[in-house]
């Protein structure tokens, strides 16, 4: 069985004046340790798909099954647990907490765990070494460059050792050189066994992935 199975997924957003069909009857699966890029124009439903995959938005129709768990049949508390255990998010705008330091941002997911401060510290140091930020642990986020901030975001996504990394345009705000560096990190993570689903506009990054899925107007076209 595939790690991620998406069956007849439809997601609508209703506003005062209209209903937007962001995702329309999508069905596909993703295997464990697979690196999949989601391509498509703006408004094609890529980010919505990622949101639904991450347990942050209930689909209007259809289901998401991850590791044989029907995600949206879980209770609200259990969905939060699912996000914590299975998913690591990486966003285009990094989305770090501005008043926390690098190590505090990385250890954010651990603040609700049962790990002691010492155990947390050990884990954080290991992860920061992985993303080459061990010397900047005590810096505030606004003291870092864009590439460094994105590496902090990646470290935060990895701290709970999730099976799946969901990355929404992780290189969107970075220059090409830094983007390449970030993509190499993702590639290494995939080699280490992480399943990665990445939204990107940059078709050049297809080379890092095993497979690309193209969306248009909420539908699968490729």
């Amino acid at each position: 069985m595939s790690l991620i199975e998406i069956n007849n997924l439809t997601k609508e957003y209703k506003s005062a004046n209209e209903t937007v069909l962001a995702v329309n009857d999508l069905s596909f699966s993703i295997e464990q340790k697979e690196f999949v890029t989601l391509l498509g124009q703006s408004g094609s439903g890529k980010s919505t798909l990622l949101t639904v995959l991450g347990g942050l938005a209930k689909p209007t129709l259809g289901k998401i099954v991850v590791d044989e768990i029907n995600v949206y049949e879980l209770s609200t508390k259990s969905i939060a647990d699912y996000r914590r255990e299975y998913i690591g998010f990486v966003f285009q705008s990094f989305q770090l907490v501005p008043y926390l330091t690098v190590k505090e941002n990385v250890s954010l997911p651990l603040s609700i765990s049962d790990l002691t401060n010492r155990e947390q510290k050990q884990l954080v140091n290991q992860i920061l070494e992985k993303v080459h930020l061990e010397n900047k642990a005590k810096r505030l986020i606004n003291e870092l460059s864009g590439g460094e901030q994105q590496r902090v975001a990646i470290a935060r996504a990895l701290i709970n050792d999730p099976m799946i990394i969901l990355a929404d345009e992780p290189t969107g705000n970075l220059d090409s050189k830094t983007s390449e560096d970030i993509m190499k990190i993702f590639s290494n993570l995939n080699n280490d066994g992480k399943t990665i689903v990445m939204v990107t506009h940059n078709t050049a990054f297809k080379k890092y992935s095993h497979r690309s899925i193209e969306l248009s107007e909420g539908r699968l076209i490729n």
Binding site: Y13, T51, I87, Y99, S111, N117
Partner: protein
């Protein structure tokens, strides 16, 4: 790192917002502490002043009366078994358990005397019967604050003050002589019209009157001003009755009730103002936290994305508010106490007033601040936890 670390770091590093929140709470707590401290002290001052504004207990000698009836007609009443009051009864009143609540004791010796005006040509001829009252002028002037004396208060034994009616009745003026029982007295002062029986009385020193009227150590009645703000007047009456076996001790209910009404009105006014301030402060805190939650939509989205449950988010925000509220409570208490120190002398018009501070206000003000912070932030915090992840996530 634990959740409380997130709250503390948020407070520590977002100083402007933290200070704004704390100032809002401090203003509220300080205002309420100031108001309560001022109210308590001003109430006590008002009560003390009111209590000294006229007597609220009258002590008279006990007597039994019997009505004489003949063939169904009421002929007369006769008093018998009359007790007397003495000067040393005044000192006995000062020995009761609630002696600290006794403000003024004003004994009086009353007698009707025939006055022979020194200059009969000036007004009326012949002898006049007038009521002569022996008093302690110091105590009486404290008790009867509405008295306005033209001239001076008697300082010598042979000086008297007369009521305005006496002046007209006898046709006499200030600094003229008046003969009572063949002894000359100087009219040192004339009482302005009071509209009471006092206008028709002559007042002299009580010791002089006891000698003159041959009633050594005797007293006709005693007026007492008791401080009844924080003790029941009935208890003072009971204690006084127990030390003065031969006396009727009567509280003047009307006087007491009107004083207490004035005091209670001030208390209610203070309470009303405190309530208004509390509501305004709650609105300030509510607005502050509500705006903070709106600003932190992205942050809440991050918390949701990394797997926080809703009550984790509630804990973070509530802990921030309660930490700020705790410190605001302490600082507010200090600020309020210091403010009261400067306001009370102004309101009581008494620079030397001894201010009474209530130490339990420290715990109350801190508790009040915590409660205020909690109540005012409850809705915004619940709103934060109910934030649709999609809404939060979209902002990411």
């Amino acid at each position: 790192m634990k959740l409380y670390n997130i709250s503390l770091q948020s407070l520590r590093r977002r100083k402007a917002k933290t200070i704004f929140l704390i100032i809002g709470l401090i203003l509220s707590v300080a205002s309420v502490v100031t108001l309560l401290t001022v109210s308590k002290n001003v109430n006590a001052s008002i009560a003390a002043n009111l209590d000294e504004f006229g007597a609220n207990i009258i002590i008279t000698p006990k007597s039994d009366d019997i009505s004489i009836n003949y063939s169904g007609l009421s002929i007369n009443s006769v008093s018998y078994n009359n007790k007397e009051l003495h000067t040393n009864d005044v000192e006995k009143i000062r020995t009761i358990k609630n002696k600290d609540n006794i403000s003024i004791i004003a004994p009086k010796l009353l007698s009707v005397e025939t006055i022979n005006p020194s200059n009969p040509d000036k007004g009326g001829t012949g002898n006049k019967n007038v009521l002569v009252c022996g008093i302690r002028f110091n105590d009486e002037m404290r008790l009867k604050k509405w008295w306005n004396v033209n001239g001076k208060i008697p300082s010598e034994a042979n000086e008297v003050i007369i009521g305005s009616e006496i002046r007209k009745k006898l046709g006499i003026k200030l600094n003229e002589q008046l003969k009572i029982r063949n002894k000359n007295f100087l009219i040192s002062g004339i009482l302005d019209e009071t509209g009471s029986q006092e206008d028709a009385m002559i007042f002299m020193d009580i010791k002089e009157s006891q000698i003159l009227l041959d009633k050594k150590d005797k007293v006709s009645l005693i007026e007492v001003a008791a401080l009844c703000y924080d003790c029941p007047i009935e208890e003072i009456v009971r204690q006084t009755s127990s030390v003065l076996a031969g006396a009727n001790v009567t509280p003047i209910k009307q006087t007491i009730e009107s004083k207490m009404t004035a005091i209670h009105r001030f208390e209610h006014f203070s309470f009303g103002i405190s309530l208004v301030i509390m509501i305004i402060s709650m609105l300030i805190v509510f607005t502050n936290v509500n705006a903070s939650v709106t600003e932190r939509t992205k942050e809440i989205g991050i918390f949701l994305a990394v797997g926080f449950r809703r009550y984790h988010i509630m804990q973070i925000i509530l802990l921030e508010v309660l930490t700020a509220s705790f410190f605001a409570g302490l600082i507010g208490y200090l600020t309020g106490t210091i403010s009261a120190r400067f306001i009370i002398p102004v309101l009581t018009m008494d620079e030397s007033i001894k201010i009474v501070y209530d130490n339990s206000l420290l715990i109350l003000s801190t508790g009040f601040s915590l409660a205020l912070g909690f109540i005012a932030s409850f809705y915004p915090v619940v709103r934060a936890t109910k934030l649709d992840p999609t809404t939060a996530f979209r902002s990411l």
